[in-house]
């Protein structure tokens, strides 16, 4: 009953507000008139009676307000009123509103955009069925790091474990030739076990994924396409199922298309079944495959790892030669996909959060200044019966309205920002979920707006609610007479805070900039000028034998050499900075054990490789025709060998030749001439030359020991890279190389055609990206902080215009006055910089992983950035003083 009647009274009140108002009015008037009549009856003159009645009744409007409160209609009413009022106040001072909104919209927009990335990459569950149970599987080896699986180990793991629902094996991404209308094009292909998609729990958008058994007996010739490849190659035609697709000269038929959001692993274009025949997966000891597993629902991931480790231990005992120190590694899938990018993302997200805080401090300052000039208004409202809480609520409503409207613009900025981020995301950035401004980022934006609105609205609300109405009204709200100590303190703290935050950001950006400069200046070991690279893949179906492949390479090299504009040409299995393969070596006399010997990078080359990339020859000689012939002769003998004994017999007869890098020479033959030394890598090899180091992996890592072999050694590699050096711009050689390859085999696609310089730039994209992003934020922070301190100093100086006028009239020097004001500013700046330096030392520790060649506490960077910030801040202080001193003292004196 009561709930019901309460609701009814509330509903009535809300719906029939005007009726209620007039009724209330009638009721109260009746009361006073009835009382006045009684007074008249007792002999009081009518006029006097009416006056008495009104006085004894008390404040009519206050009573009415209290009555409305009792009906609980005020809440909605107040909010409506406050919002209207806030809108009026905001449109009344467009300058303030535009500055505040722009600041906030940028801050909220940047945060929402970056949150979209964080959400997609780090927070949102992977788009798999029960994603928490999907793990990546790796192995360890004697050498440090995680290694791909060997086929035989995988099969044993899969058969013997009791903790996994299932496991699935898949290949690295390989470039394949896809025949199209206009010749061949390259596509990235991943071969997977048939259960791959069903293990992840993802379905095709058209057609189906692989069926059980399609990975048996050589593997069915069926293909699943990525959405991107389907659109690019087939123009998104709906009747796609059963369409033929020629991959490396073999015909496949399309059975399905994956949804656009599906991007695992990486940027694969096509998936085809992996031939799971045991003899095709390779022997123990050759780590070739990637694998995923799905742990049983009720089993913890740590249990699953323990299970695999037990199996690995058993295998180690069973196969001591190949499986020495081979253990299992189980990584949650997200960690495997995202890797060390998560720290980069969190640093960026933290930085953009700081920018928003600075923006908040700025707007809070603007509001504080305004609140001071509105003290009169607040005092009047207070005198008319508005409670402190009520006044604070009105101010908060104003700031929340401001932040919500700015947030609206911020979301628009976020859409633009996400589009820009997507276009420029480093290719290494995994996107298991598409990066988009979805529900979660929008919710994030809304919550941020509310939080931000309350945060920067709190300061002025607190300040205003402590106003003494009487004092303020007496001082007539004159700008000079009504500032409180508390107001100063708040404003100064905010500005010092802003300076501290932007200093921390600037230092972060400065450290990244130094990292970037360091990497740019790092010796990669090659001279990229005028060098073009490209990749070809010789399909096994057409180039079956060693000699077919060798002939192709010979002819292609010959054609390239005589092409116009080409100075040097080479073919290699591996390009600088792009990683590659490595193997264990053994050095006679330096006993290191069979599989546990030192790990050495291996590159096989043919042609003028060192000349084209200007890798200096430090000792001995380069490969000669004789060296290539010797290796070819060896390969022709060793390939047909059936048994291990036959192979060993051939191996014994030969000593092949190798060129090694400086690091390898210094590692194994320190202070000796390495030329003429012997090492074993499957076969005995004699060092004929030593060349300069070339970075094999990332620019930031050290060069590893590396051996170069004649290309004949590795002719069966799936893809070969062409390196040509010309007279002019590298790009101009693309046509020459393309026509040379086409003239030899029209079905071969030329893939990854790019100048060597581009490979170097691309290898640094993550650092470039970090630097640009953090640098941008730091500049934004600097501008905001400068605007903030300028605003506060203008205000402070404005307040002291009168005083400055008096001082000037009494003969004060300009310098003295400037000094007086700057001292005030310098104190705030000094505190801010001090706090900022302290904060930066902590913050920089967090981003240590992103830094190369510079320590997280780098005095030069810290001092330089702090000096720059101090200069900008002092300039922001000086401008208002200069303006104040231009004012005629007479006007200044009248300013009060």
């Amino acid at each position: 009953m009561t709930v019901c009647s309460r609701f009814r009274s509330w509903l009535q009140a809300t719906l029939q507000r005007s009726r209620m108002e007039s009724e209330m009015d009638t009721e109260l008037r009746f009361h006073m008139e009835a009382y006045a009549e009684d007074l008249v009856r007792s002999g009081m003159p009518r006029q006097e009676a009416a006056r008495r009645a009104r006085i004894e009744f008390g404040g009519i409007e206050q009573t009415k307000e209290e009555c409305r409160d009792m009906r609980k209609v005020n809440w909605i009413d107040d909010v409506g009123q406050d919002v209207q009022y806030a809108a009026r106040m905001l449109t009344k001072s467009p300058g303030f509103t535009v500055v505040a909104m722009l600041t906030l919209a940028l801050g909220i927009g940047a945060n929402t955009a970056l949150f979209s990335v964080v959400n997609a990459v780090l927070l949102k569950p992977l788009p798999f069925r029960n994603p928490g149970k999907v793990v990546a599987l790796w192995e360890t080896e004697t050498a440090p790091g995680s290694f791909p699986l060997t086929g035989e180990d995988y099969l044993d793991w899969r058969a013997q474990n009791s903790t996994f629902e299932d496991m699935s094996l898949y290949s690295w991404q390989n470039s394949y030739n896809v025949s199209g209308k206009d010749g061949a094009e390259g596509a990235s292909v991943v071969r997977t076990q048939a259960n791959f998609f069903s293990l992840l729990g993802v379905q095709a958008q058209i057609g189906r994924t692989f069926a059980t058994g399609e990975d048996q007996n050589g593997g069915s010739h069926v293909a699943v396409l990525s959405d991107g490849f389907w659109k690019k190659h087939f123009g998104a035609q709906q009747e796609i199922l059963g369409k033929p697709l020629e991959l490396n000269g073999e015909s496949y038929s399309v059975i399905g298309v994956m949804p656009a959001w599906y991007r695992v692993p990486g940027q694969a274009d096509i998936w085809v079944p992996l031939d799971m025949s045991k003899d095709k997966l390779g022997k123990r000891g050759s780590h070739n495959w990637k694998a995923v597993g799905r742990v049983k629902d009720e089993v913890a991931i740590s249990k699953a790892l323990a299970d695999l480790r037990t199996i690995a231990e058993r295998l180690e005992k069973q196969f001591p030669d190949n499986n020495r120190n081979v253990d299992a590694i189980v990584t949650p899938m997200r960690e495997d996909l995202v890797g060390d990018l998560s720290s980069q993302l969190w640093v960026m997200f933290g930085a953009v959060g700081l920018v928003l805080l600075i923006a908040c401090a700025n707007v809070a300052n603007l509001l504080l200044a305004r609140a001071t000039s509105r003290r009169q208004e607040m005092a009047v409202r207070g005198a008319l019966g508005a409670g402190r809480g009520r006044l604070a609520r009105q101010l908060l409503t104003e700031s929340v309205v401001l932040s919500l409207v700015s947030g609206g613009f911020g979301v628009v900025i976020a859409y633009g920002g996400v589009a820009a981020l997507k276009a420029s995301l480093p290719p290494s950035m995994p996107q298991p979920n598409p990066v988009e401004v979805g529900l979660a980022p929008l919710t994030f934006a809304l919550v941020t707006c509310l939080a931000v609105g309350i945060l920067f609205g709190l300061a002025p609300a607190l300040q205003s609610s402590g106003v003494d109405a009487g004092e303020t009204l007496k001082s007539k709200g004159s700008p000079g007479g009504s500032t409180t100590k508390r107001g100063h303190w708040l404003r100064n703290t905010l500005v010092a805070g802003e300076i501290a935050l932007s200093l921390a950001l600037l230092i972060g950006a400065g450290l990244l900039l130094r990292t970037f400069a360091h990497l740019r200046a790092t010796e990669i070991g090659v001279q990229p000028a005028n060098v073009l690279t490209a990749e070809v893949k010789l399909p096994e179906s057409k180039y079956k034998t060693f000699d077919q492949r060798r002939e192709f390479v010979d002819e292609l090299l010959q054609k390239l050499r005589v092409s116009p504009g080409v100075n040097a040409a080479a073919i290699t299995t591996k390009l600088p900075l792009l990683g590659g393969s490595n193997g264990y070596i053994h050095i006679p006399g330096q006993d290191t054990g069979s599989m546990s010997g030192p790990l050495v990078e291996s590159t096989s080359i043919r042609g003028d490789y060192f000349g084209a990339l200007r890798i200096p020859l430090l000792a001995g000689r380069e490969f000669e025709k004789d060296d290539y012939e010797l290796t070819a002769k060896f390969m022709r003998e060793v390939i047909p060998a059936k048994t291990d004994e036959e192979t060993k017999a051939v191996v014994k007869k030969y000593t092949l030749r190798a060129v090694i890098n400086q690091t390898m020479a210094q590692t194994f033959w320190p202070k000796q001439n390495a030329v003429g030394k012997i090492f074993e890598h499957f076969v005995r090899l004699e060092v004929v030359g030593v060349v300069g180091d070339v970075k094999q992996g990332r620019v930031r890592s050290k060069a590893m020991p590396e051996a170069y072999y004649p290309l004949e050694w590795d002719l069966d590699m799936p893809s070969l890279s062409i390196v040509v050096k010309g007279d002019g711009a590298a790009g101009a050689l693309a046509g020459t190389v393309r026509s040379a390859v086409r003239s030899q085999d029209a079905n071969l696609a030329l893939m990854h055609v790019r100048p060597m310089a581009q490979i170097i730039t691309e290898s640094m994209t993550d650092t470039t990206y970090e630097t640009v992003l953090l640098g941008g934020m730091a500049v934004l922070a600097l501008i905001l902080a400068a605007v903030g301190i300028y605003g506060v100093m203008s205000y402070v100086v404005g307040q002291r215009t009168n005083e400055i006028g008096i001082r000037m009239a009494l003969g004060a020097e300009r310098g003295q006055i400037v000094g007086m004001v700057l001292r005030q500013g310098a104190a705030i700046i000094g505190i801010g910089i001090f706090a900022g330096l302290a904060g930066a030392t902590v913050g920089a520790k967090l981003m240590e992983g992103l830094l190369v060649g510079v320590k997280s506490i780098d005095p030069a960077t810290y001092a330089g950035v702090a000096g720059m910030l101090a200069a900008v801040a002092l300039l922001a202080c000086y401008l208002p003083v200069r303006r104040a001193m231009r004012v005629d003292p007479m006007i200044a004196l009248r300013y009060e």
């Binding site: 009274s9 509330w10 009638t26 009721e27 009361h31 009549e37 004894e56 009744f57 008390g58």
Partner: protein, 113 residues
């Protein structure tokens, strides 16, 4: 007692309920009745009556309707609801117990301790 007493905190609601329990009254009438039955010994700030009336009505203890006053004017009359009756009994009971306890405490003589 000559001097008028200020109303104890929270008792106005009870007095209003009591006043309207004797028959429907308009706001001014309630004021007069309380003064009459208290023999003018209680002072009520006239304006404070109405927020209390609105609160009681919102809580459902009293209800109102428009009627005609003694001198033929439109006036809002309040009367007690069933829930209000129960409320008044409960409040009066509580009040009586409270005054007994307090009177007992204040009437304590030294030898009784």
């Amino acid at each position: 007692m000559d001097k008028q007493l200020d109303l104890l905190q929270g008792t106005l609601d009870m007095l209003i309920l009591k006043a309207v329990s004797l028959g429907p009254l308009h706001g001014y009438g309630i004021l007069l009745r309380i003064q009459q039955i208290s023999k003018d010994r209680l002072e009520i700030q006239q304006g404070s009556l109405y927020p209390a009336l609105y609160r009681l009505e919102h809580q459902g203890w009293i209800t109102s309707e428009w009627g005609e006053s003694e001198n033929k004017r439109k006036a809002k009359y309040y009367r007690l609801t069933a829930a209000g009756k129960r409320r008044l009994l409960a409040e009066a009971d509580k009040w009586n117990r409270m005054t007994n306890v307090i009177a007992g405490i204040l009437g304590t003589k030294p030898e009784e301790v």
